[in-house]
Symmetry: C2
Subunit: 202 residues, 2 copies
DNA sequence: GGATGGGCCATACGCTCGTATAGCGTACAC
DNA sequence: GTGTACGCTATACGAGCGTATGGCCCATCC
């Protein structure tokens, strides 16, 4: 499926998502989107009469992707297995929809209302998982559930947002199976066991 | 010290740092900076002939702040104490220079070269600390040092970057002593001990 | 007391932005 | 075969952008 196989509408939507994710909404002009989509600027406003409407349509598109990716989270398996599954789903989500994730992260950093709501949904999912662990007595009793959930979401979105900076410290591109798996393993280890071999006296 | 006590130059620099941190460089015009500083747009270009030069001057200013905040890290105390001290310094840095931190985070997310170098310096500091812990056998042997350092830096910059989103889940503003201390405690707990009560069988 | 210089402001130019509007070609309906 | 709807393009306009330029005001110095 090459770009020219897609309809103009789909090409515009893909180009807008990519441009907005890479450079931010404010720094991307409609003319930029049109050039990247290979269509005239007029066509963009033919389908999305205003830039705000284009952003709104993209928000809906991204919400659908995110909803699809995290629906039907299994509640039946053991809490620890569910935790593992959620981590794998997050990694898969980043791998399969890197542009959408970056778009959400950047929009949330810019204070976009729709992005903030997606952020809230992510925090709610994370919190629910850790709550299950807490209910089964698997967490340290003094765990700050709110900040644990926030840490998990911030770590994902922050890593994607700061991708260019993170990239400089990796031997291969971040979006390779090896590096994504390494990232997944390191994040799992951090939340499961922290870094210290044994809890210090303090 | 009210704003009018400062020289025009200082007011412009402060206003530019605040505007660039809040809205990003691209989305902030010289006229915006001038308005926030309470001076004419002409004065901005009188001191900083171009917008790029203004950004460059701000970068130097922020580098000086960051260098000052993290110089003279004690190497004499025990590794665990040094780790604690570094965490406290980070929290103090965020508390005392929230605008500078946000500016660095946003610029790094935008791929600005100077910001990327500051990011690298932060990662180097974090990595050195964890390397000390590893040298003393205090870390789990399979710890991924690169990602641990990255996690620490991303967690700080990501939290600041996503401040508006994080804010919605806190009972008080993030930049209050209570919430900053809670954040510090939660981050320390995460890196020290993770969240699980005991390491699972896997 | 006129000259000098620095802090500060007003205006203008070329460019790009978002948006409005009109028009082109082709495919399908009757 | 004419009409009509649709995918798409071209052009124009007002506003805001970064930047260049010139000038005002007032303190300081000979």
């Amino acid at each position: 499926m090459v770009a020219s196989d897609l309809t103009g509408l789909a090409r515009i939507r893909n180009a807008a998502l990519a441009s907005f994710a890479r450079d931010g909404v404010a720094a991307t002009s409609i003319r930029d989107v049109a050039k990247e989509a290979g269509v005239s600027p007029g066509l963009v406003q033919h389908y999305f009469s205003t830039k705000a409407a284009l952003v709104e349509a993209l928000n809906g598109h991204v919400v659908a992707i995110a909803t699809d990716a995290f629906s039907e989270l299994s509640e039946s398996s053991s809490p620890a297995d569910a935790q593992q599954e959620l981590g794998d789903r997050v990694t898969a989500f980043v791998r399969e929809h890197p542009t959408a994730v970056l778009y959400v992260a950047r929009s949330a950093a810019d204070g976009d209302r729709a992005a903030l709501e997606i952020f809230d949904a992510f925090v709610a999912i994370a919190r629910r998982q850790w709550q299950r662990l807490a209910d089964h007595g698997l967490l340290r009793p003094d765990t700050d559930l709110t900040w644990t959930a926030l840490h998990a979401v911030v770590l994902v979105l922050g890593t994607v947002l700061l991708g260019d900076a993170v990239q400089r410290h990796l031997p291969q591109p971040f979006y390779t199976p090896e590096q994504l798996e390494r990232w997944n393993a390191a994040s799992n280890a951090l939340f499961r066991e922290g870094t210290y071999r044994a809890a210090p006296g303090g």
